[in-house]
Symmetry: C2
Subunit: 400 residues, 2 copies
């Protein structure tokens, strides 16, 4: 019998024990930084914009010159020049004059507003009429208004999306410090397993977990090193584990984790290092092992693919994120159940749902077939002592 612990406790232990230390940095070109985790706070090294800019096509003015103008009494200003894109604007803006500025162009230092072209009228001879006053600051971005030199813009540990890449470009950061991608070893064990490409003999099933875990590891910016299927035999499995753990930061072995005679993983983890946890109070996923070998995390995941999927999502994914400096927060939304669900196991239970807006439709999954997860897009957890939840109950849903 396993002596099980709650999954939240297991998660705390994993993060506390393994998320430090492994974090190391490398520098990549901006064009390869998308999807990686930022390795340092990013600070503006200059004011942005570096000059006062117009946000419209129009005339840079001194707003005082337009005070009191109206449809019947326009203000007449003399155009003394045009600002050119990409150049400083050195045309002096004396009282009574205006300077044409295209969108994004520099305005003369004396200008405190820009009037849209549409609100002016060309009277000929360089004279332009204005029929509306302009508030000081209108259609203008002042130097440093976007960012002040020294301001922190992006925090270490942020996963870089398109807008972040744009922000780095805006700051001129073409070399970006990022966390190194963790290396994750993957082994499937079980004498009933055959590679997905081979035909099945009676009693055999295909190895689902190798490909699934490779994909899951890749989604979190880690690098998978998969050894495929290893026979469920002590020496072979022990050798495979002890070799692979030298190459990787985290080792995932699925199968052979229970307490049966044929379950070698508990003994192998104990012999190579230390078992920290054997058994989780959750369904599915009870026969999970968390161990430490050479100071590295070893997860013995259930052979059942749905269980392996959940335990990866709940325990391994947060570790991979933490190793890359990310804040580990489950992004949850509240949703209402469209049907009642029952649970009665004395263990927490993962329930798959199809989340649509703010309603959550439970996806039935009696068996360990991974295609039930394909039909879902989120899950929630029924607490240990809850016998079920009625239709319409609010649940905290985690997206897959």
């Amino acid at each position: 019998m396993l002596s099980v612990i709650p999954i939240a406790e297991a998660l705390s232990l994993v993060l506390e024990k393994f998320s430090r230390g492994a974090a190391s940095l490398e520098t990549v070109s901006l064009e390869y930084a998308s999807g990686k985790f930022l390795g340092a706070d990013i600070t503006a090294e200059e004011d942005l914009p570096a000059f006062n800019r117009s946000t419209v096509d129009g005339f840079a003015v001194r707003s005082a010159d337009l005070l009191g103008c109206s449809d019947s009494i326009p203000a007449i200003l003399e155009k003394t020049g045009e600002s050119v894109m990409g150049k400083a604007c050195v045309i002096p803006l004396t009282p009574g004059s205006c300077v044409y500025v295209p969108t994004g162009g520099a305005v003369p230092p004396e200008a405190d507003a820009v009037v849209m072209l549409e609100y002016s009228e060309d009277f000929g001879g360089g004279q332009f009429a204005f029929y509306k006053s302009a508030a000081s600051g209108a259609n203008l971005i002042l130097r440093g208004e976007d960012l002040r030199k020294g301001e922190t813009i992006l925090k270490s540990g942020k996963r870089l999306g398109a807008a972040d890449i744009g922000t780095l470009a805006a700051l001129g950061k073409t070399q970006v410090p990022v966390f190194k991608r963790p290396l994750v070893g993957i082994i499937s064990t079980g004498d009933e397993l055959v590679p997905p490409g081979e035909s099945l003999r009676p009693g055999q099933i295909r190895d689902v977990n190798s490909e699934m875990l490779k994909a899951a590891v890749g989604q979190h910016n880690a690098i998978a090193i998969s050894k495929g299927i290893v026979r469920d035999e002590y020496a072979a499995l022990r050798n495979a584990c002890s070799e692979l753990i030298l190459e990787v930061d985290v080792l995932l072995v699925s199968g052979g984790t229970s307490v049966g005679e044929k379950d070698n993983m508990p003994r192998i983890v104990a012999d190579l290092g230390e078992i920290l946890v054997h058994g989780l109070a959750v369904k599915p996923g009870k026969p999970t092992i968390i161990g430490e070998v050479n100071g590295k995390a070893v997860f013995g995941l259930p052979g059942n693919p749905v269980a392996a999927f959940f335990i990866f999502d709940y325990l391994v994914k947060p570790l991979l994120l933490a190793m890359q400096g990310a804040k580990v927060e489950r992004e949850q939304v509240e949703a209402r159940l469209t049907r009642a669900v029952s649970s009665n196991h004395g263990r927490e239970e993962f329930i798959l749902v199809r989340l649509d807006g703010n309603s959550a439709e439970p996806v039935p999954s009696k068996s360990g077939l991974i295609s039930t997860v394909s039909r879902a897009n989120a899950y929630f957890i029924i607490p240990r002592d809850q016998e079920g939840l009625p239709k319409g109950a609010l649940v905290k849903v985690t997206r897959l």
Copy 2:
């Protein structure tokens, strides 16, 4: 002046005009299929599992043999053998007998239930005592119970996640039909622009859109071909566009899209092909061009990075998804505003928010600085005729 149309109308036009035709398929190995879009419905070619399997370590039994047994009057069955993982179970299960089966192992065809090991007692001499009756079907997955031959499991157009990869592995699909990745050409234009790695002279700003759009294109499984900055000059920009459109499925040019003298894009799109839309009733993003050249979509995006970002998200992203067979649905959640927001433009307005659970904190973004998008994780749209929304208002939020 632009004659603007609503963004929803522009989106319909884009999808209707450009999402067909370009869709072509290729076949990739399962290990490279993650993140790609499935190119055909996937159907089970056999029953799964292919044999009756146990979900626990225990004894396969005829449930009738345990009828009426109890703590005081156990049923005694004779163990006649053990099922071996990966082999068919050919041990006959005669009445009064039981067969040991490990988790996942095949059970004898006559077995209709499995009793967990913990609920049996070894009486010696091959005799095992059972103290509880078992429901027919208990701890058993019957042949075909997961999937029936001919059942459709995954639909064409689905973006393949880890569980889908696992499902394909379970079905033995090691060669996967996927949609080809669209090729997207990217050009930035504007004489004020310099590459992010160069130092700025007065009046210059860094090209944000090239790197941002490359990252955004890559996030949606398309391939970016970026030509960097092209001078905002008719001949140079026209040549760059007409060459690049030959190589790509979609062309994105940011900058030069307004109605100023220096704005070359309207004329270039009209000269090379046809302008379908010039001007969107949205803030930011008004100076957007949608055109057709050689039957391909050309987007003239605003030079303002925040506007380019929104127009990409609202118009270009759905097109890239549609070209890869995906159902184009905005995944939205309802959230409550933590502060009032005002809007008063006669145009729809994109409002950035920081979504936390079900509350949405508006992120102020006066200017075009892309770092304001970095601070947000979602946005919503204020309708055209709405002057603003009060604190606590429910809004439909789209994640970034």
